[in-house]
């Protein structure tokens, strides 16, 4: 009898702590929505969509912000509030959400121009900009955001070996690339 009671108590306790942990973790992601939109579906044009983004990429970016290896705005501070375990949870949570394309407009002519030079991106980001492992989805992000990121790589605000190719392109070409990948909304 005593054993059964203890077991029952154990069951109750573990159930309670499981519920506690699960909802507690959800609370650490809902606060992101104030800037990134509900479930990461950002409607702003300079703040990226993170709902439906690649988990490996989100994890990598959060770690880079946390360690000041990547320049950002508020994210360098905010990421420091997240342990490795929490970063994992945040990355998996947003990755599991549905991708909602930006509703910001793009320029059709620039998108067509961008398509002609887009091949350089396929190896890492996929033929449709859908993202591969730690390389992010870029299709359907707002034009402004994509253009800004490309220019930041060109001007060495952001640094990465894979993105160093941008130095060979004009600002106009980069704008065309941004329009092309933003135009892929599927």
């Amino acid at each position: 009898m005593k054993v059964r009671l203890t077991f029952l108590l154990f069951l109750i306790l573990t159930t309670v702590s499981f519920v506690f942990a699960e909802t507690g973790e959800k609370r650490i992601v809902v606060i992101c929505a104030g800037c990134h939109g509900t479930d990461g579906a950002s409607v702003g044009d300079s703040i990226p969509i993170i709902g439906g983004q690649k988990a490996d990429y989100l994890k990598k970016v959060m770690e880079e912000y946390k360690n000041d290896e990547k320049a950002g705005s508020v994210m360098n501070k905010i990421a420091k509030g997240y342990s490795d375990e929490r970063i994992n949870f945040v990355a998996n949570y947003f990755s599991s959400k549905k991708w909602v394309n930006t509703n910001k407009i793009y320029d059709n002519n620039l998108a067509n121009k961008g398509k002609k030079i887009a091949e350089v991106c396929y190896d890492c980001h996929g033929k449709l900009g859908e993202g591969i492992e730690a390389y992010p989805r870029i299709a359907g992000q707002p034009v402004f955001y994509l253009k800004q990121v490309l220019l930041d790589y060109k001007n060495s605000v952001l640094k990465s070996d894979e993105m160093s190719f941008v130095s060979e392109y004009s600002d106009d070409d980069l704008e065309a690339l941004a329009n092309y990948f933003s135009s892929i909304r599927r």
């Binding site: 506690f20 507690g24 104030g34 800037c35 939109g37 579906a41 950002s42 905010i78």
Partner: protein, 429 residues
């Protein structure tokens, strides 16, 4: 609620009598405006706190009935209203209907005002009738302190706007500024802390200085700050003022206003008399009148004290207070900002949903991110992440996870608008 209780309750409260006369019909006063069937949460106040709470209750548990009570038919955003005042954005950009909360989440919107609370019977009386609840969340915003000793009353606000609640007041100040004569003087009074949006007055002052400069008006803005120093993002604001607005902006701290002569537009202070063509007097603040009316404020206090873990009122069970009306110290170290109200809305949503479902709510976790324009093209920010701390029983800043940028930037001006569009969508859509 029994008739006997009801009668004695009305007898003992002036609000009750006022309520009766508003309806002019006792039958309506007694009847439930929407009869309660299942689990129900009522949210009073459709700002960043209340609207977010209503939406996230539905996201957490769609079976709970949620009624959002708001006296205005539109949401007008305080964030970005400073840009409207100087003509960089229009009123439409910051004005929203509540219909998507109804359409997307099944929240019932009731345009009404809360009149009185009967916490023993979980009943709220509004201008549209009586409502029963299981949980009541109040997010009523701020109230202003009138001060006869210095001649300040809210009757003056058509001439001397505060523009610290967005809407008609925003339009009045925008209109006045658009008519500012060459060489004119604008006076901006910063209220004594704590007040809604700590960096807000300094952003407004920066944008007005920028407006004067851009339009070659040759006038200036004078900041009369009742605090010891700039209360938020101080170094960054001062750097911008020093770089851009040496002619257009003058800053005075520790200013006590002694008298306001509205007719002659003269403010008398401990540092001398100043005449203004425009006076933007932002009064000292307290919890909203609704919080006082419903009995949520302890005697001699100005803000609502809450349990930092659940946001339940220290006075009434099943009644929760969030947003600017809360006493900061009872919550922790969070500022009175729109982002924090949005965060609190999510915490209280989980708190009441957990409680209604017999579960333990998780530990509060919140964030603040807030951008301020220092010119028409550049902005600065402040951010922090907060977590409930078992030792101090308050929600406090996580070490290292807070701060401001090294300098202002153009990209942060873009981020401010994206931030606004996202927090509006997260709160209202």
């Amino acid at each position: 609620m029994s008739n006997i209780n009801r009668r004695s309750f009305i007898k003992n409260t002036t609000v009750g009598v006022a309520g009766l006369s508003i309806f002019g019909c006792a039958g309506k006063y007694h009847s439930e405006v929407i009869p309660k069937k299942g689990k129900r949460v009522i949210v009073v106040g459709g700002g960043f706190g209340g609207a977010t709470a209503a939406k996230y209750i539905k996201l957490n548990d769609p079976t709970i009935e949620v009624i959002l009570i708001e006296k205005n038919s539109y949401f007008v955003s305080c964030p970005i209203s400073n840009l409207v005042i100087v003509g960089l954005k229009d009123m439409n950009y910051i004005t929203f209907k509540y219909d998507l909360l109804e359409k997307n989440y099944g929240i019932k919107i009731l345009q009404a005002e809360a009149l009185e609370l009967n916490p023993e019977n979980n009943t709220l009386i509004t201008t549209k009738g009586v409502l029963k609840y299981d949980k009541l969340i109040l997010s009523p915003g701020i109230g202003f302190i009138e001060d006869n000793n210095i001649g300040y009353s809210l009757n003056l606000t058509d001439k001397i706007p505060h523009a610290w609640k967005a809407g008609k007041q925003t339009e009045i100040l925008r209109q006045q500024l658009s008519e500012l004569k060459k060489g004119g003087t604008v006076i901006l009074r910063v209220p004594k802390s704590p007040y809604r949006c700590p960096p807000g007055p300094y952003e407004r002052a920066s944008l007005i200085a920028n407006f004067i400069k851009r339009n070659n008006l040759g006038g200036k803005i004078i900041i009369l700050d009742s605090n010891d120093d700039v209360t938020s993002k101080g170094k960054l604001f001062k750097a911008a003022w020093n770089n851009f607005y040496r002619r257009e902006l003058e800053y005075f701290s520790q200013v006590e206003v002694q008298n306001i002569d509205a007719e002659n537009m003269i403010i008398d202070t401990n540092k001398g008399k100043i005449k203004g063509d425009i006076i933007n007097f932002i009064p000292n603040q307290k919890a909203s009148n609704t919080a006082f009316k419903l009995g949520l404020i302890k005697e001699d206090k100005l803000w609502a004290f809450v349990n930092s873990y659940t946001f339940e009122s220290e006075i009434f069970k099943n009644v929760y207070v969030i947003g600017d009306s809360t006493n900061t110290g009872s919550v922790g170290t969070v500022p009175k900002s729109g982002y924090i109200a949005n965060s609190m809305g999510k915490v209280v949503a989980e708190s009441v949903v957990s409680s209604l479902n017999g579960k333990m709510p998780p530990k509060p976790f919140m964030a603040n991110a807030c951008y301020s324009m220092v010119s028409d093209t550049e902005a600065i920010w402040v951010t922090a992440v907060y977590e409930y701390n078992e030792n101090v029983k308050r929600t406090i800043t996580i070490k290292g996870a807070s701060g401001t940028p090294k300098t202002r930037s153009k990209i942060d001006a873009k981020h401010q608008l994206s931030w606004a569009e996202n927090i509006w969508s997260d709160t209202l859509m």
